[in-house]
Amino acid sequence: MRNPLSDTITAIPPSGIRKFIDIGSEMKDTISLGVGEPDFDTPWHVREEGIFSLEKGQTFYTSNAGLKELKVEICKYLERRFHVSYDYKDECMVTVGGSEAIDIALRAMLNPGDEVLIPQPSYVSYPPCTILAGGVPVSIQLEEEDQFRLTKEKLLAAITPKTKVLILPFPNNPTGSIMELEDLKEIAEVVEEYDLFVISDEIYSELTYTGDHVTIASLPGMKERTVLINGFSKSYAMTGWRLGYACAPAIILQQMLKIHQFAIMCAPTTSQYAAVEALKNGDEDVIEMRAAYDERRKYLVKAFNEIGMDCYEPQGAFYVFPCIKRFGMSSDEFALKLLEEEKVAVVPGTAFGDCGEGYLRVSYAYSLKNLQRAMERIERFAKRHLGEKE
């Protein structure tokens, strides 16, 4: 029999966290700080709207780009929160999570051999999606001394004549770093000068703790070059509803819509009706959840620093990214030992790119009580292993 598989997909390595999941789920009393989704339930009024839409029998496809009412609300929201205006008619589409939008944006923009700049550590799907779209991923390694922000120098150093797209994954999973207006201005200059395009993944845009998120699309000349991706998973605690969106210049969006039309048809109808309610009446929910995350963020940063695990203060998303270089172990080793010895599951920084070596991603999408219990165990672990070394 011939090999049934494509060489492209078999060459892409599987995610390295599988073993943690397998070991962790076999052990009783494991405390996980490993998830990338909110611990809150979707706000009840949003769930109710989904239920109501089912009761009314709204169980059909929507138009490919999504419900008109939802697209209108998305554009209003982006204007209200981030001061960027899109035309709902041809610059906005609803997708199956932000992840579909990443995939189809890359597929709509790349020609074979085009290079995509991917600041890392960052979410895992950018390199494989780039490869599947025929492009070549090029990693830009962010560093703690820059607070894991993308600097002009780092960007310039990575550009080649083949560079076409820059991914901007901020607020960032896993580092919790953000890009402020001044940072983005420098990036925008380079993007314009080298005639690049930006895929700005802003799924954590509602979770910033030191000021409002700024989208690069709101900078002069950038909207024409940017695919803005966002969604409902993190801000409204709606991960399981699988709903995101993309806003982009019509010329790009039209082609993205084509792929979406053939591969997906439309995003889930029930989720779309619920999302309309989230955007219309959900601002308060977002404020409440943000406040809860912020409390936990402050608690964790302090707790890690107190036990001798250096932890810079992240300003967005719901992760802290403590440094473990003092322990003389690799991230993988550390995470595995922590799981085996103290039954606490965290994600090694290397899951998000090689430059995550020396760090751990610790999620605070957990109750304070849970975080405290986990920190007791981590403290015990740290004392034991630092004692061994020093």
Partner: protein, 161 residues
């Protein structure tokens, strides 16, 4: 800072000072002072424990009683309320805006008979009380913003990126 402190301790009054200060990003001393002030000003009136008695072997009966009264000259609602709330069986008294009755009184007792006896002998006999209507509480689902029934397990995956 006061509002922030209250928001946290309203949900968890047992949080220790160091942690509370860490959550709010404030100095411990400042937080301690603010709490002491609010205790003095009767903004913080007490620290209680929320107990789900249904999960204990203790029998407990809770009744909500609508009380209609005639305020008499020189004795306003407040005076009548005082006569009601001084009884240790009474856990809450509210003055209502309803047209059909004036006070909501919540009473806790060990047995149905004990509660009935209290209503008949202590409450209904107060001079200004015109009538009472007693509703026994069968089950508490949620109190003080907390759902009393068992909490579901965390259904999320152990690790997700």
């Amino acid at each position: 800072m006061r509002e922030k402190i209250l928001a946290v301790i309203e949900k968890n009054s047992r949080i220790d000072l160091a942690q509370l200060a860490a959550l709010l990003g404030e100095e411990e001393a400042a937080v301690a002072n603010a709490i002491a002030d609010m205790e003095k000003e009767n903004i913080i009136c007490g620290y209680h424990t929320m107990i789900n008695w249904e999960n204990t072997s203790d029998e407990k009966v809770v009744a909500l009683i609508e009380v209609k009264v005639t305020p008499q000259r020189g004795v306003g609602y407040d005076k009548i309320a005082e006569r009601i709330y001084h009884h240790s069986e009474v856990s809450s008294v509210y003055l209502m805006s309803s047209g059909t009755y004036d006070f909501t009184v919540i009473i806790e007792g060990k047995t149905l008979r004990e509660v009935a006896q209290f209503v008949n002998e202590e409450l209904a006999t107060i001079n200004s009380v015109v009538s009472t209507s007693t509703h026994f509480i069968l089950k508490k689902y949620k109190e003080h913003g907390t759902v009393m029934c068992e909490k579901p397990e965390d259904e999320r995956m152990l690790i997700s990126l």
